[in-house]
Amino acid sequence: MTTVSTAAVSGHYGPYGGRFVPEALTAALDELDAAFRSAIVDPSFIDRLTELERSYTGRPSPLTRADRFAAHCGGARVYLKREDLNHTGSHKINNAIGQALLTQRMGKTRMIAETGAGQHGVATATAAALLGLECTVFMGEEDTRRQALNVVRMQLLGAEVFSVTAGSRTLKDAINEAMRDWVSTVERTHYVLGTVTGPAPFPEIVRYFQSVVGREARKQIQEAEGRLPDAVIACVGGGSNAMGLFSGFIDDPSVQLRGYEAGGDGVETGRHAARFAAGSPGVLHGTRTYVMQDEWGQTIASHSISAGLDYPGVGPEHSWLHDTGRATYEPINDAEAMEAFALLSRTEGIIPAIETAHALAGAMRVGRELGSDAVLLLNLSGRGDKDVATAARWFGIGAPEGIEISEGR
């Protein structure tokens, strides 16, 4: 198992990862790589990052024991790592602030980002406002509609939101457009990729800035339980919140790593984002990884009720963890996720993001499988404010007289 935890060997994870980009971006990726490596051994950089994590993001995030929810998880003890309580409402801020500091370090004045659910876009817009940088966020048109609240947040924060109308009008197309902008503006622009995918060194950088989640959680669960958990659980879009949590436990063979991808309408319907259940190794967005593709290597558009999981690729390290058997990945359908969404809201008073709800549905499965002695640790990656309109529609909740739930399709 140790080969797995040594992570990137020159940007590769077994056969996965690497750099499949236009030559024009090679110099920028090399510059980023050098800046990253010098930053993480520079005490002043680490001090600044740690201080912002503490005083701005609100770290460490708490660990909450969720007994009423756990009753639906085979009676296992369930702990929630509360990334929803971070400033801006998700784990995405951990990476955005880290990369914003790298942007400054490289002397660049503009950041661009792709976003699906809007959480990474909001986090990047926030970090840009904090550090006085320009910011443009690329978002698929479909996602600007289903996550309209976050579009307004980004604009309030001073970012420009570019609605992408190409292709499937979701996260995949937003990444294409961000790459096109980057190649034309790279001299003054840093591309803040929001998850553990893309060309090297992005998967390694994003993992690094998210690893604070796993580090804190490992300590907190040992304080609470006097032992390591039996399983750590996360939803997997690109895979950054999962990689952040997994990184704290990857060298502990007794801890199962469980990832949950979007099953959409059901894997058998073809309308899903289940890269491991229904994809195959290929190259997308600069990296070799599991991809939803047809027999000719054309990307197949993904589908999920959750904009943040609606992506046909996945981070390359997850592909390696999958192939080596160190982690396991299963799809969760829209309906299962929404059931878990409602359950956590009513049993614990926590409205989760719909992305996160996939991990919660996963915990219900794992708990029933491992039984009541098990200790489960779940990354509660984000809060559900942005999803209120989608949930209202799903559950057929009418707004009280005089109140409008206006966004949506």
Binding site: F20, A27, G167, R180, V186, G282, Q298
Partner: protein, 268 residues
């Protein structure tokens, strides 16, 4: 290495002009029409055809080529169709290249693709998102099947990078004129000439300039310092603007003729 490309560059050099390389996506607007259009380009004096293999996520391409590629995919242009297009082009009068993002080639099978392309009469492949570092099996497959593999250099490439890229390239070196995506521009990037000069220090291979060339005058300007001029979006655009296939054929012939005059260093 295929002999075909070196023949083309030897001929154009002795005629004191740069080679004219024209791009169109296979299957745009339909597979049959794309063959007619590319053969019309050859009739009008294009020295090499760059057959685009349509891909769902063309992140090096601007709006015109994105549009064309979407149309080609909707028209059912699979990799096998692209290979058939290659087979049906007039390879006697022009070198035939394929331009493809990496995933369709990897999915088809690296060795299998090289074999199939050689059998179809293709002479080389341009891979805009593949760099030599990731190209191990591709280097072997292209060599074994005598197909030229064309990598790109860009204005941001360091001198060391240029050395690495050209060492692994055969046929010609593709110099991207600007930092950006494909698309017709009013000016060819100011960095192009300097990039060609830097690449010359690293290789004896011909160097062709692409990205942003759309007129005879621009072609003439670029031909003064390069061995080849690559034009893509401008062809796509005149096909998009045409009302029907005959009009598109006429427009493509006119543009190709203008560009062919432009690459002649003695003219103008």
């Amino acid at each position: 290495m295929s002999r075909r490309l070196s023949e083309v560059f030897a001929q154009t050099k002795s005629a004191d002009r740069a080679a004219l390389i024209g791009y169109l996506p296979a299957g745009f607007p339909t597979p049959d029409a794309s063959i007619e259009l590319m053969n019309a380009m050859i009739d009008a004096g294009v020295d090499a055809i760059e057959v685009g293999l349509p891909y769902s996520d063309p992140l090096m391409d601007g709006a015109d080529i994105q549009f064309a590629v979407d149309a080609a995919l909707s028209a059912g242009t699979t990799t096998d169709v692209v290979l058939d297009v290659v087979r049906r082009l007039d390879g006697e009068r022009a070198a035939i290249l394929v331009m493809s993002y990496w995933n369709p080639i990897e999915r088809y099978g690296v060795e299998r693709f090289a074999v199939a392309l050689a059998a179809a009469g293709g002479n080389g492949v341009i891979t805009p998102d593949l760099t030599p570092e990731e190209a191990g099996p591709w280097l072997a497959a292209t060599k074994a099947n005598e197909i030229d593999r064309i990598f790109l250099v860009a204005p941001s490439s360091t001198d060391d990078r240029i050395v690495t890229v050209v060492k692994n390239t055969s046929g010609f070196v593709y110099a991207a004129s600007t930092m950006g995506v494909t698309g017709a521009r009013s000016q060819v990037g100011a960095g192009a000439q300097g990039l060609v000069a830097r690449a010359r220090l690293a290789t004896d291979l011909p160097i062709a300039v692409g990205l942003g060339v759309s007129t005879g005058a621009q072609a003439h300007e670029v031909a003064a310092y390069s061995d080849g001029v690559i034009v893509g979006s401008a062809f796509v655009r005149c096909i998009r603007q045409a009302v029907d296939l005959p009009a598109a054929l006429a427009a493509v012939r006119t543009l190709a003729g203008e560009l062919a005059e432009g690459v002649n260093r003695r003219a103008g």
